[in-house]
Symmetry: C2
Subunit: 230 residues, 2 copies
DNA sequence: TGCGCTTAAAGTCAAAATGACACTAAGATA
DNA sequence: TATCTTAGTGTCATTTTGACTTTAAGCGCA
């Protein structure tokens, strides 16, 4: 009864998809949460945009499959990767045959903004602002919303914000990340107090020169294992 | 590439398991987090205890499968049910053939203590205290630990504690739930302030008689949709 | 050279939340 | 009636949080 196998003819198919977040400046230079989507080239939802993903290979872990899809779609490596949820409702693909039923284990990933700026983009792979998505295939709009909630929530207590940034960064840059993800401005002084109190960053000793104001300290993320929680 | 099907011969099998929590008094009458396990009657791990579960039926949702397993194992309905995680490492079942690979979508559930007291128990279904588990089959010890962490964490911000209790209850009973799950004593006064401030309960107007002290107010949980988050 | 602009970085203050603890209320028991 | 036990209220100091002020240190420009 437990963990036993069953006839493959009646087993649901297993796929892995990934919600890949990065930050990109919009027209006014403000950072926006952005993610890549792929255009479907077959039914159902032919021509519509969908999350990158595909079947789970029998020889790879779930997170490996997510990383692989990420690499295939964007050419990038994830800076952070975590399982989001397994979606398996019967009505995920309206009108389709039961035999085509797919259970999707969805991951969410963060990639660096600088790397993402050089990512793959093509006719069938395009990056969208998270709050301006078109109607997506399957239940993928709901999945993205759920992933966004998790990202915002996790930002508050986990050390993941630096995943969008380079090795070293200023507190203002880190604050920009929080502001973009949370969608509201934060008090610079209080942000500094929070960040220093939590010990999530440490000063490098270097300062960033070339600004037209007082040169800010450069920080790096304190060494904490990052990546999948489980 | 997205959501497509693949040859069933190389597809991993999909199972659903459930970590079912309830509270039971131990020898000294202290409430303890308790869960049912089933004894395996086939290889691998023949004779060892494991989480209740089984293959996902092609006609049922993931949460339905979890509920069904819960019912089959314990004869009970869940008071709370939420997806925990999808476990799919390649090495979950050491030494087994790739073709037998199983990805388990694990749920965690809460059942009422009073109902659980009358639950099914047999030679091959036994309830164990969560902090005194034997060595379980597969990676099920890790899964239970993970579920316990989620339970403790969720208790702090979600209205789930009453799922262990009857329709009405005293604040002392609710506090006992928190203490059993968190594993530490809580200040009665501060607990009352927290609970009343969060508005998670409302007084029924009734009092519990028959105690050998001042009769406490009976409360009920305020009406909030409970169950799966997603 | 020095003035104004901008952001860095430190500091202030009141309000809110938290933890420890004291005190009164109201039943049962003897 | 006195005592025991838990219910329920209240107090106080500490910590956390949000809003805001002040000083530091660069740059651009007159």
């Amino acid at each position: 009864m437990t963990e036993s196998t069953q006839s493959a003819l009646v087993a649901p198919n297993l796929a892995v998809s990934t919600v890949i977040f990065t930050l990109r400046p919009d027209a006014e230079g403000k950072l926006k949460v952005t993610l890549p989507l792929v255009r479907r080239i077959r039914a159902p939802f032919d021509g519509q945009w969908a999350l990158p993903g595909g079947p789970l290979n029998i020889t790879e872990d779930l997170s490996q499959a997510a990383s692989r899809n990420l690499l295939e779609t964007t050419g990038l490596e994830p800076r952070y990767l975590e399982q989001l949820y397994a979606f398996g409702s019967l009505d995920r693909s309206p009108g389709s045959n039961l035999a085509d039923r797919v259970v999707s284990v969805v991951y969410w990933a963060l990639v660096g903004s600088d790397e993402a700026a050089a990512a793959i983009e093509s006719e069938n792979i395009r990056w969208f602002e998270a709050d301006q998505l078109p109607q997506l295939a399957f239940d993928h709009n709901q999945i993205v919303d759920y992933a966004l909630g998790r990202l915002r929530n996790k930002l508050a207590y986990a050390r993941i914000a630096h995943s969008f940034l380079a090795e070293t960064f200023t507190l203002a840059q880190l604050r920009e990340v929080y502001e973009a993800v949370l969608g509201r401005e934060l008090d610079p002084g209080n942000f500094r107090r929070m960040v220093e109190g939590d010990g999530i960053v440490e000063p490098t000793g270097e300062r960033l020169a070339g600004t037209r104001h007082r040169p800010p300290q450069l920080y790096r993320a304190t060494n904490t294992a990052t990546g999948e929680t489980k």
